[in-house]
């Protein structure tokens, strides 16, 4: 227990006891208890939480930044160990989000206004061995397949994917569109990016899973593969699209980042929750923040402070 709270508690009690009638609207902050914000480690997501945390600190709330796993945070949100969740991405956390909302213990606080995009990505030099990129048909070229193959997948080419639980339907996509590829799953995002970056540094042809907003496509020149445009029918209806017998013959759906929060906190810190609901950013802002933090190496804390200092007009309405 925080020693500081040991004093604050009696202080607050004493203040209330010297009793003026409680005001009609609870005073902000309604509680001294620290609000726990989930920090999952990616600079972009951390920056969102830092900006939010610093803003509610201005209102007088006590904030605690708690490290958590991206998908593991939902367990903490359900039990109230975490109060404000790091936004879940439609592209990888759709099932986890739905499961969490269904328990009734986790609130859907709306989307944060940043669309997210995850798909097959390659560094620019791959175009030399696979002419025709970014169009997906270029991946059918036998020379391209050979260049992208590795010992584990020979004679097929390798698509470096993220952990299995991220989903993505890439094996189905490969089968439906008749590509000569095999999906190799990295066990974690760290392994994925490590393999990717190492290959890029030695100019080895590679195509793998990447997302935006993220430092990898910001730091290294490359492009996303362009597939037939996504429609819901593509995933549900085999008859749709290039391949009349199979579904998943198209690209991936885009999505949004969804804000989450522990249901019980609404009653404890209503104003803070209100600010969280109102908070909205956009891709351009996110891209700039991520660039400063990851490419330029500015500490995330400083990046958040700078943004707050320069964008009062944007965040002032959230606090009203």
């Amino acid at each position: 227990m925080n020693a500081g709270r040991l004093i604050a508690g009696p202080l607050l009690a004493a203040a209330l006891a010297t009793g003026i009638a409680a005001p009609a609207t609870a005073q902000v902050p309604e509680s001294e208890d620290p609000i726990k914000l989930a920090m999952i480690g990616y600079s972009g997501d951390n920056l969102i939480m830092l900006i939010y945390g610093k803003l509610i600190e201005r209102l007088g709330y006590t904030v605690e930044y708690t490290p958590a796993d991206y998908l593991g945070q939902f367990a903490g949100l359900e039990t109230g160990d975490l109060h404000i969740g790091s936004p879940g991405w439609d592209t990888t956390a759709k099932a986890a989000l739905k499961a969490a909302f269904d328990t009734g213990q986790v609130l859907n606080m709306g989307d944060i206004g940043i669309p997210v995009f995850e798909d097959w990505w390659y560094p620019l030099y791959v175009k030399d061995v696979c002419p025709g990129l970014p169009d997906w048909t270029a991946l059918k070229n036998p020379d391209c397949v050979k260049a992208l193959s590795v010992a584990e997948t020979e004679p097929k080419a390798r698509f470096l994917s993220g952990p299995i639980e991220w989903g993505g339907h890439d094996q189905e996509r490969i089968d439906a569109l008749g590509l000569d590829f095999e999906v190799i799953h990295a066990g974690s995002d760290a392994a994925l990016t490590a393999d990717f970056v190492a290959a890029i540094k030695r100019k080895q042809p590679i195509v793998g899973w990447t997302w935006e907003p993220f430092w990898l496509p910001a730091l290294y020149e490359g492009e996303f593969v362009v597939w037939p445009a996504y429609e819901d029918a593509c995933y549900d209806d085999p008859a749709w699209g290039e391949n009349p017998e199979k579904a998943f013959d198209c690209g991936r759906p885009n999505g949004m980042m969804w804000k989450t929060a522990w249901a019980g906190g609404e009653a404890i810190w209503p104003k803070a929750y209100d600010v969280w609901r109102k908070m909205k950013l956009d891709s351009k802002t996110m891209g700039e923040l991520v660039y400063q933090s990851d490419v330029e190496g500015v500490p995330t804390d400083a990046v958040a402070e700078k943004w707050i200092a320069e964008n009062e007009a944007t965040w002032k309405p959230w606090l009203e």
Binding site: A3, T66, G72, G76, T79, E165, A190, W215
Partner: protein
């Protein structure tokens, strides 16, 4: 009957054993071949049909969810009881964190005094003083330098957070391990009950019980403490039990003749006389605790583990390595200090001095630390290490890794592809092609040969369980990876261990390397390994070998050193040559400890499975990772239990084989 007694009995009855016993293992092998050939007719023997799969993970998941969400004892929820207990056990950590990092607020109302945390210089001086108190000037300098290093690289607060967690965890771990070991020694029944529990604790991958731990204790030091203790206590318990069993019977007799009560016998005779062996246990507790630091940081413990994790996720290898090195140095300092203090012999001249003089170093250190902290009010640079004075070499190491990646990749890639296609792929294909029915029967047969019906039944059931829960394929992948890795680690480690036992210089050279390998968070070398060898089984193999080679060397070294000098002298007196002494005296006598070492190597290798899952293997470790991200306690626990069963079976079979060997050599007569 323990496995040893059973095996001894089996050896004694060898002459009376029916002939068909000898045919059992070949028969099982023939069964495997037959099933393989007849594969199309018996597909169920190769791949368990879905409807036969027992949904244990769902049952466990439902039970866990009930226990953690709704179960209650009286008016209190089980969960709240655990939270309460957690708050109690983490209280020392929180207190230390305040002293070292956050500062303490004293007083109330208007007169609140904010006491700053202990000055960084103060802590460094204190640990140096501890080194002097232990009587080793070089250690004092090393300890001081370690803490200065932590300050200079800008990670002081993280280091103090980690120090708080580690000191408390090691204290709990050593005490708990000692108690368990003593209990195991006193009663074979207790030993038989506890041993499987210890196996579980060591081999169920941490990600398997991470979700239940989080649900029980919430994010914070209590959950981190819980998972750390589960991992770090078993070696201490095992080593204690082993040490007490091997206590010199003459020393024990002397104690009894002197009139010791059982407690005095333990406390004043047996434990002190077995100190070297016990200190190996303490060493392992410290190492394993620091190993857990990264995972602890993932569930809210913060500290250096968090710094390593963050840096490596962003591929800042150098920064991650710096933080990782801080963890290693901390481990080495704590270990060396504890070894030194434990190795001290009572000095009667010192005893005669007054209290202040006797403890002059420790008190001096404390005094200087307090002074530095007080001065921190006036000189802020003393209270909080100034950011301007930070030096990091992160970029340099990133450059080194990049250079190796770009220039050496051709050769590395060639070796990798060769081993992958000619060693790993064939072994993996073989492992996956074996029919599960055949393998289960074979394991039972081997168990029967080594330890009679009881061992056969245990081995058979454990492996059958894995098949029945539908995890056979993933288990086979885990098994082949571990088998190849531990084999390579043993082939490298045992010879080096033997050589190190001979040469004090080499021992002193190798020891810090071993400490580094065991405590440098595996994450730190995992990422460069993935960069050089790409995602896949090969990287996983390299990572496990790197981790497992250290205990192989260490235990072998220790085993050879523990061979009693009188035995060697006696052999020399008989005129045995050097090689004869080695082959006929040293190695046989050291064998039990060497096998204990290989056993531990196997356990530690299996515990690496969860880490290698982060690389991208399709094995049981990956199952636990998936369960973690889906917050599915059942799936994680079941996959973890399968891992534990593989380890336990291998351990039991190994131990039984060794016991038979030793009984055959007549080594157990008159000992313990």
């Amino acid at each position: 009957m323990t496995a040893a007694e059973g095996a001894a009995g089996a050896v004694r009855n060898a002459a009376a054993r029916p002939a068909w016993h000898a045919a059992i293992v070949p028969a099982a092998l023939a069964l495997i071949v037959a099933l393989a050939v007849l594969a199309p007719q018996v597909p169920w023997a190769h791949l368990l049909p879905d409807r036969w799969v027992v949904p244990v993970d769902r049952w466990v998941g439902d039970a866990a969810k009930w226990l953690l969400r709704e179960a209650a004892i009286g008016p209190w929820l089980v969960r709240d009881i655990f939270r309460g207990m957690g708050a109690v056990i983490e209280a020392p950590i929180v207190a230390l964190q305040h002293v070292l990092v956050k500062g303490v607020e004293l007083g109330s109302g208007d007169a609140v005094i904010a006491v700053p945390p202990v000055s960084w210089l103060g802590v460094a001086v204190f640990f140096a003083a501890l080194g002097l108190a232990a009587g080793d000037v070089r250690l004092a300098v090393f300890a001081g330098a370690t803490f200065l290093y932590a300050a200079v690289i800008g990670l002081w607060e993280s280091t103090m957070m980690t120090l708080a967690l580690v000191v408390v965890a090691v204290a709990y771990g050593v005490v708990t391990g000692l108690l368990m070991g003593v209990l195991m020694h006193r009663s074979t029944r207790v030993a038989r009950a506890i041993t499987p529990l210890l196996d579980f604790m060591q081999t169920v991958p941490v990600f398997g019980y991470l979700v239940p731990a989080l649900l029980l204790f919430g994010y914070g030091p209590a959950a981190a403490l819980f998972i750390t203790l589960i991992y770090a206590v078993p070696p201490m318990a095992r080593v204690t039990a082993n040490a007490l069993a091997q206590a010199n019977p003459e020393t024990v007799e002397l104690g009894r003749m002197a009139g010791c009560s059982p407690f005095q016998l333990l406390h004043r005779v047996m434990l002190p006389s077995e100190r070297p062996r016990l200190m190996l246990g303490v060493n392992q507790v410290i190492m394993l605790t620091l190993n857990m630091v990264i995972i602890a940081s993932m569930i809210g413990a913060g500290g250096l583990g968090y710094d390593v994790w963050q840096a490596l996720k962003a591929l800042h290898i150098g920064k991650g390595a710096e933080a990782g090195l801080a963890i290693t140095l901390l481990a080495i300092v704590l270990d060396r200090l504890s070894q030194r203090f434990a190795a001290r012999r009572p000095d009667h001249l010192q005893r005669a001095l007054p209290f202040l003089l006797r403890h002059r170093f420790v008190l001096g250190g404390l005094g200087l630390a307090a002074l530095a902290t007080l001065l921190g009010h006036a000189v802020p640079a003393l209270a909080y290490y100034p950011a301007d004075w930070t030096i990091t070499s992160g970029r340099f190491w990133d450059g080194v890794v990049d250079w190796i990646n770009v220039s050496a990749h051709g050769a590395i890639g060639g070796v990798r592809d060769f081993l992958l296609l000619n060693l790993l792929r064939p072994v993996k294909d073989l492992a996956l092609a074996l029919p599960w029915v055949g393998v289960v029967v074979l394991v039972g047969a081997v168990g029967f040969r080594l330890g009679g019906r009881r061992l056969a039944l245990i081995a058979f059931s454990l492996i059958l369980f894995i098949a029945l829960v539908g995890q056979w394929e993933k288990a086979m992948i885990s098994a082949y990876l571990i088998a190849v890795a531990v084999l390579i680690a043993a082939l490298i480690g045992v010879p080096i261990g033997i050589v190190c036992a001979r040469s004090e210089r080499l021992h002193r050279l190798v020891e810090p390397v071993l400490d580094t390998l065991q405590t440098l968070p595996s994450f730190v070398y995992l990422i460069p390994v993935v960069m050089l060898f790409s995602v896949g089984d090969f990287s996983a193999l390299v990572a496990v070998v790197l981790y497992a080679v250290a205990p192989a060397i260490r235990y072998t070294d220790s085993a050879i050193r523990q061979v009693p000098a009188p035995a060697i002298e006696a052999a020399r007196a008989f005129g045995a040559s050097r090689r004869q002494i080695d082959r006929r005296v040293v190695l046989p006598l050291a064998l039990p400890d060497i096998v204990l070492g290989l056993n531990q190597t196997l356990m530690l290798g299996i515990s690496m499975l969860v880490i290698t899952a982060l690389v991208g293997t399709r094995d049981l470790g990956q199952e636990t990772l998936i369960a973690l991200s889906k917050s599915d306690p059942g799936r994680g626990l079941v996959a973890g239990v399968c891992v534990a069963f593989i380890a336990m079976t291998a351990d039991r079979l190994l131990t039984a084989w060794v016991a038979r060997r030793r009984a055959g050599l007549g080594l157990d007569a008159g000992r313990g």
